[in-house]
Symmetry: C3
Subunit: 449 residues, 3 copies
């Protein structure tokens, strides 16, 4: 597992232009494909049913993109649906840089959690009196406090560096910006917003000299020579400044402990907020699930956390039960619930099936309380990175397999709850002996109505 | 006081159909009734003046209702008024179950505080590896963490179990849903949202057997036999699992300590967040006021807490002074305050009288800082259950009676504040020797213009 | 520095009527004045560019104004712009009272931080069983918890008492009101909202007597005799009640420690939340900057805090770089960023110059992450009071002068970041040897295009 969460494949987004990206997106079908003559209308139905919980490549904005790399950012979640208000103040960005590149120094008005999903690099945090540098390798988790100027190096000769970042704005809920100091026209420098006379006085330097310095930039992600990369590494260590090292007390690594779930069908790695200070301060957990081809998770739900899941490899699909969609957004029979008092729900809430096809780059959201199942396609492993927002005291409740909560009901409660002998309940809920990861359905879901 | 907060009366809502409920509601008049010819127009004025702080039976939605019981839920407070934004993320639900019934297991995407106002029962919280059961009796306070599957039993042979619940959604501000696992069509089960092939694989069981199990439900609140109730109790204790008991460290009871106020006119019981861990985590206090017929409270205000008060018995009325109504909602002369700068308030804020008639089932809201008086009608005791939101460090400031804050002004401050000799101030503010609960007005308020 | 932060000058607002105030406001020009024929259009451009970060005298509402003093309140910041949502729940009020006056007791549904910027007085907090009094002198910082009834005395014979208050509403986000008990028509008393019969019963006093007492008020800020002021002081001490005193453990003073920055060009005094319990609970810092005429600050930014700055004396201007204005409000080329996915920013964010002229009474807002420079006009000292919201763990990052963060980049990082030899970077960023306060530009900014 010390490999890569975002492996290089023929389909890699790395060198593609935006147009190619769009082309590919069109081919990705965001729902379960049904067979038969009613396929098309059902496809539309299903497409709707995946909203607003599934986001694809074309939902991202391209913040920057050159031959050297790119930064993609998901829009504010509440622009998709008010159902996502609970995570309004979180934004997901994905940085991909080519080998031997340098990301120029910048800061944001947001706290950020970096999670390295591929490659190896280094990051430097610039403080008033010193700088701190950290080696980055796959699985590293690092918090960048709001306002801290950072720069990044992909120091590999042949591999991309990919970092997923969850950002929490500190000023305007759901909005943040990057602030570049060194720069000029590309990227624009914030120094350029000041009058020349002020800069001249502040820097005690003639304006010509200043203008010369700020006119020379060539983009946000740029080529660094092997010598420069070595020198930067050497400097850090040689200078007695905080040395590189994944062992630093500030860095957690997802793979430094055993998986919390592991069997022949899959493994789940997770770092909880109480295990890592950087995560605790933002009330986040980070996880990585690796499914063997053809396997699935138990149906389960999280008690408090909202999961933002990003598929990094493979294909599959998920199904989720959602009572809010009908009651809040699509005007179902219980839409009156909030607004027209003294109305009556005959028999409690109704659960809409949310489903979506998963493939590399798809983002899907699992709100707390919502039962969900994820299934890997047979042909290859399915790999998913998860950011769990509001993770403190979160519990994961499995609904099937060993240790499922139905088995914890007392016999008489089972009898009353199911209106059936407890023995019949057990015959259904005690057959599955695996835990969390199971052998998947024999016919893949696409076959079935 | 170990009796019931929600006693059985002829007017009990329990066995009534919704139509009867509506009929009754029409007869409840939500304001002070004036005598004389101008009565009607004044009634309308008053009706408006109770908005948005008074909610009645007809404002609730019926979440479920059968012969066995019902669940009623107040809409999001901000659907009534933006003045209630401070409690937007709190929802009040009232559960009433008939004797010897079972509420089927379910969880919510909300934290809940249960407060038992009548009857006796038991509740079981289902965890991954165990279950926890608690006896419930009048006055018990219990926190149900978001996502925890629970089931409830009314184990009495002849008495209703009534539980008031304040819910704090964890995902969508102000919105939550119930999630039922065991079920089928009534209640719908969240398992039904999943494809058969997925369930088949997850449960390692043929779909026919699964479908049979999930097709047999008969509602959310169902009849339990005496044997089943005994067995469930016996199981819990006999199984060595966390035994029943109000003595459990997790349960606080409102009546386990002396009332904070008590005299011949009334008693006030209250549990503050620093006295009960379950309340502290949600920053809530719970109180119960019992007024002797014809008595009243001091005018007083809470410093930080917003009070959500539910009348459980008796009749009366309240009056409250509110400066926000005129400035924010009803376009009074100072409505310019927020939006048209450089305008002038000649002499500070203006206080609108908010008043409302209180009877069983009426809910009224007292925001922090707002002076309020509650008066019991002469014929019977008035009883009120209170949830205080934002209760940490709240102080209650009485404006009359022993220990009122006017008496704490220095003599010269009294003189300056009232533009009158301090002696005259004392002659008004030192006459009432009782504390908090007073003898009420001799003519009831209805008589007076 | 133990002097006054809001000194008396010919231009003092103190004795002026509101009309004079308006007149003055018209003459204050809220932007940089350009010379030449294009002046007017550029002026308009600049005026727009200062929005929404600059507020002037005419933006305040007059809450009360008499010969004895006045209270001014800034509207909710979000009424200006959604860019200010991060400080929506903070309101700035300024109280000015003439010598020997008394502010009648009142409370608010908001937490308040008082900061004394001129004069000397005393304040009394009224609790249920006691009262607490504090001497107030320039620089004192005092938290008034929500709901606490307070009264104030300006005990000087010849000097105004000026208090700036940052209020944090506890009930309705961004809104609060004052509640006056003693009063009648001016100010209206909250007692007046209650029915006479209720007051009669509550106070156990005939209504005539009550009405007499409440009919005698003469305003919110009133004249107190020298004897009354002495008596109130004497009473407090003589009565054994919590004695007056700036030494009280509850009061912090901004000038009790050394300035955090100090040289010939200026001094910065600051109390951080971890230095003062009253500030910690509201997550605020308070600062005071004194610029020598003609000096300036380094360009710098705060990492987490939003600064609400009030000019108390002198003149000058500021410049700030803001990437949000173009992307969020004024529909610039990157406005698509939030709402139209799969669009592309060619070269990162764009920074709009925000600038504004500073003079006594102007309020300006500096969001976190935003680089800013403040410059004092040559003729006199410029003095600014700052409330920093969200100040816990805030860091101030200077971009010029000794200890600027550019100097902390490693040589190779400088080379890559600026695409220039590290030596050339150092020639620009190591010339300024002063720290934070610098000699200002030789030609004042107005001269320059």
């Amino acid at each position: 597992m010390a490999g890569e969460l975002w492996p290089s494949t023929e389909e890699s987004y790395g060198g593609r232009t935006m147009e190619e990206g769009r082309g590919k997106t069109d081919r990705v079908v965001n729902h379960v494909v049904y067979e038969g003559s009613e396929e098309e209308s059902e496809r539309q139905e299903q497409q709707q049913s995946s909203k607003p919980y599934v986001l694809e490549d074309h939902h991202f904005t391209i913040e920057t993109e050159t031959q050297r790399g790119r930064v993609r950012l998901l829009p504010k979640f509440t622009e998709r649906s008010k159902l996502l208000r609970g995570i309004e103040n979180y934004r997901l960005a994905i940085l991909e840089t080519e080998p031997q590149t340098f990301v120029v120094p910048n800061h944001w008005d947001a706290d950020g959690i970096f999670f390295v999903t591929r490659g190896e690099g280094s990051i430097t945090l610039v403080h008033q009196d010193r700088r701190e540098s950290f080696n980055l390798r796959c699985g590293d988790i690092l918090r960048i406090p709001a306002g801290t100027t950072v720069y990044l190096i992909n120091k590999s000769n042949n591999e991309k560096l990919v970092i997923m970042t969850l950002l929490q704005p500190v000023s305007i809920p759901g909005h943040f910006e990057a602030f570049f100091g060194p720069g000029g026209e590309n990227p624009e420098s914030y120094f350029s917003a000041f009058s020349s006379s002020l800069l001249e006085a502040a820097l005690n330097t003639k304006r010509d000299k200043i203008q010369r310095l700020f006119g020379q930039r060539e983009g946000i992600i740029i080529k660094a020579s092997e010598e420069q990369i070595k020198a930067m590494t050497h400097h850090e260590v040689g200078g007695g400044i905080c040395p590189f090292g994944g062992e630093s007390k500030h860095t957690c690594n997802l793979f430094s402990k055993h998986p919390s779930q592991s069997n022949q069908y899959g493994q789940l790695y997770q770092v909880d907020p109480d295990e890592c200070r950087d995560l605790r301060e933002l009330n986040l957990a980070i996880g990585f699930a690796n499914f063997t081809g053809g396997s699935m998770t138990a149906p389960y739900y999280n008690s408090r956390a909202t999961k933002i899941a990003v598929v990094t490899n493979g294909e599959g699909h998920f199904e989720m039960a959602c009572p809010h969609l009908s009651s809040l957004e699509f005007g179902g029979s219980s839409s009156s619930r909030g607004s027209h008092p003294q109305q009556r729900r005959s028999s409690g809430p109704s659960y809409q099936k949310v489903s979506g096809r998963l493939s590399r780059g798809v983002v899907f959201i699992i709100p707390p309380g919502h039962p969900v199942v994820t299934v890997a396609s047979k042909n290859q492993n399915l790999q998913i990175v998860c950011f769990d927002v509001n993770a403190l005291n979160n519990e994961k409740f499995p609904l099937a397999g060993r240790r499922n909560i139905i088995n914890q009901l007392s016999p008489d409660a089972k009898e009353l709850a199911f209106n059936a002998p407890a023995r019949e309940v057990d015959e259904v809920f005690k057959n599955q002996e695996d835990e969390f990861f199971f052998e998947g359905p024999r016919q893949q879901h696409e076959r079935e109505h």
